[in-house]
């Protein structure tokens, strides 16, 4: 398929980024890939609770797009956007702790994999599993920017599959009507679980959906990290200057199964290998950087730093305590109910009766 990009045509332009920034982008992509590889090891050692989801081959989509945001902008990632969370400030140790369900993980063991966020400091929102639901949520987040006249932008990701949900449609339509400063990225990686995009949507281009919402729809090569950066930057700038919502379709490919257990028997022979050999976003970027004079040893220095960080994160996570079972009863409401629960399991009174008001009640300060 011929992927056209409005902006990827001029490799010399370097997307207006400095040499340091270009190397930083490389760092985020390498960190994403290596961290997931470490998670695979932990998964095979049965240290991961539940499933493992990879973004192999899609690192450029997540990193390039998130890099186009400012610190104060808010991002809502999906399961294959680990890279965007790292750019936003999520740390490897948080990610490993989440996957290992430790008591000091960002959600204190309540939620899984990369379902976590930090709206206080780092400006990313944790996703839920129900696909599409984060689009209306981000419509609301960005509506608040508009109402308060804050020069901030929101970015929300959906997969090709998630663009079929009612929530996606309702959210983007609402944001479009309200001219919210929102960028919606549809990451078209060819499959939703086993369903190819052609069975998901009859339109040839997901970007064409934008016509129906009265907003611009762009398409770019999602395996070219600078093209991804540029197209997102364009949409972010438009949003920040009051131009409203943009829908961006990033063309990429999911090289791993839906999750680690999926053997991808539904994928035509040779397809994965072809993408791996010819269109790996990291390989492409390395080639580009070295072509522009970055030395291999400089990149290897970054790789070594990444390994060190991941080693340290793994050690910290492996030394983390499991959650305290009774902690599972806390935090459903901002305040404890005024009366002790009417119901309790025989022999177990709820924590309400043990502590007047647990210090951690209603908060996520762990």
């Amino acid at each position: 398929m011929a992927v056209t990009s409005a902006l990827a045509s001029d490799p010399a332009a370097r997307a207006g980024l400095s040499r340091d920034q270009l190397l930083e982008i490389y760092y985020w992509m390498r960190l994403t890939r290596s961290l997931e590889e470490r998670l695979v090891n932990l998964y095979r050692q049965t240290k991961v609770v539940g499933g493992l989801f990879r973004s192999l081959g899609q690192e450029a989509c997540a990193v390039g797009s998130a890099y186009a945001l400012r610190r104060e902008d808010v991002l809502s990632p999906l399961i294959r956007n680990l890279g965007s969370m790292l750019v936003k400030g999520a740390t490897p140790v948080e990610v490993v702790r989440q996957y290992m369900a430790t008591g000091n993980s960002p959600t204190r063991g309540r939620e899984l994999n990369i379902h976590f966020g930090d709206l206080q400091e780092r400006n990313f929102v944790g996703q839920i599993s129900h696909l599409g639901d984060m689009v209306p949520v981000m419509a609301g987040v960005t509506l608040s920017f508009k109402l308060r006249k804050e020069p901030r932008v929101g970015l929300v990701y959906v997969g090709d599959g998630a663009t079929s949900t009612g929530a996606f449609h309702e959210g983007i339509n609402f944001a479009a009507v309200q001219r919210c400063p929102l960028v919606v990225i549809a990451e078209n990686n060819g499959y939703a679980y086993s369903t190819p995009t052609s069975r998901q949507c009859a339109a040839e281009r997901l970007a064409d959906k934008a016509v129906g919402y009265g907003i611009p729809g762009l398409r770019a090569d999602g395996n070219d990290v600078l093209a991804t950066f540029e197209v997102t930057k364009q949409a972010v700038d438009r949003a920040r200057s009051g131009g409203g919502v943009t829908l961006i379709e990033l063309m990429t490919y999911r090289r791993k199964g839906h999750a680690e257990h999926d053997n991808q028997s539904y994928v035509p022979a040779g397809e994965i290998e072809r993408w791996a050999a010819e269109n790996d976003p990291l390989d492409r970027y390395v080639e580009r950087l070295t072509g522009e004079g970055v030395s291999v040893s400089e990149l290897e220095g970054i790789d070594a730093r990444v390994v060190q960080e991941i080693d340290r994160a793994t050690d910290l996570a492996e030394g983390s305590p499991p959650p305290e079972p009774r902690d599972g009863l806390l935090g459903v409401y901002a305040d404890p109910p005024s009366a002790a629960a009417l119901w309790y399991r025989e022999g177990l009174r709820t924590a309400v009766e043990q502590h007047e008001r647990p210090a951690s009640w209603g908060t996520h300060d762990g």
Partner: protein, 325 residues
């Protein structure tokens, strides 16, 4: 004859019903070539083709609504929710459109909405739900939730043949853990009839789905350690509830413990308790007790999930309290 898993029971029912009636067809996400996330529909595409085993876009409202339309026209669609948690996306069309169609407009909706539900599998808050109580309140729907392989097959056949919409909850913890030899031939289990899973005389545990097995384990322990004779009633159908079977067990043992995996507040145990008060209060020697999940979203970490969901020791403790009352 070979033993068959709970999952295979459901698969056989789908297969046999599609063979029997050309109006039966399946739709859902990844149910075709992939055979479904849990492989419940494995092999159906090869046998029946892509017209009758339809891979849908991720559009629960869309394909549940489409199923209703097809059902009006005499088809018998079976919708798969990849996880039952996602039935919430189709809540409006199910409760507002499907459930009222016959009453309002004399339009039949013979369809099944099925999917893996329940916890004990470290699935976290969105892959472990038990949303049965959210639908219990909706006249016009039927709800079944089998605990055995035989019931999984027999109730699925009944659900597909039923002239109304049946929500068919499948417990994913039981999919491959529970096995039995199934009766030969056309094995249909009627909707609305409970099953005595274990006879007893000292107290009754009323339950369904995965907690049937937890309750049976507790009953065995109570017999061993306390000499108590515990009856376990497996409801199988939640809407309609089998009042007769509920009253019969109350009359027999005079003490009732209701166990379910769903959260306690607004759970089905509350409804059953009220019915017992209405229909058999004089037969009670003790207050009706319940053991259920704590009122929190289901957490992911094993330590938290184990704590929040009802476990065998919880059931044993509550039963002892009841027996001593």
């Amino acid at each position: 004859m070979a033993e068959v898993t709970y999952l295979e029971g459901i698969r056989q029912a789908l297969f046999e019903e599609m063979e029997r009636d050309p109006n039966v067809f399946c739709l859902g996400e990844d149910i075709g070539a992939y055979g479904g996330a849990f492989k419940v529909t494995d092999g159906l595409l090869d046998r029946f083709g892509a017209d009758r085993v339809i891979d849908t876009p991720i559009s629960e409202t869309g394909f549940v609504g489409a199923a209703a339309g097809a059902a009006h026209m005499g088809m018998r669609p079976v919708c798969e929710m990849q996880f039952i948690d996602f039935v919430s996306c189709a809540y409006s069309i199910l409760t507002n459109y499907v459930a009222t169609a016959r009453y309002r407009a004399f339009l039949p909706c013979p369809m099944v909405v099925r999917g893996p539900s329940g916890g004990y599998v470290r699935g976290g808050p969105f892959h472990s739900q038990n949303p049965e109580a959210a639908f219990l309140h909706t006249p016009g729907l039927k709800i079944v939730y089998p605990a055995t392989a035989g019931d999984a097959k027999g109730l699925m056949k009944a659900a597909i043949r039923d002239d109304d919409c049946v929500l068919f909850f499948e417990h994913k913890y039981l999919y491959r853990r529970i096995k039995e030899e199934l009766p030969q031939g056309d094995h249909v289990v009627p909707i609305g009839k409970a099953r005595v899973a274990r006879e007893g005389t000292d107290l009754s545990i009323i339950t369904y789905a995965a907690t049937v097995w937890k309750s049976l384990e507790a009953a065995a322990q109570l017999e061993r350690e306390d000499g108590l004779s515990v009856e376990v009633l497996d409801l199988r159908s939640l809407l309609p509830l089998d009042d007769e079977a509920i009253v019969a067990t109350v009359r027999k043992t005079n003490r009732v413990l209701i166990v379910h995996e769903d959260t306690v507040t607004g759970g089905i145990a509350g409804e059953i308790t009220a019915r017992i008060n209405d229909l058999a209060f004089e037969w009670l020697d003790a207050p009706v007790k319940r053991v259920a999940a704590h009122d929190v979203p289901l957490p992911y970490a094993p330590q938290l999930e184990d704590f929040v969901l009802p476990q065998v020791p919880d059931i044993v403790r509550a039963a002892r309290w009841l027996a001593a009352y």
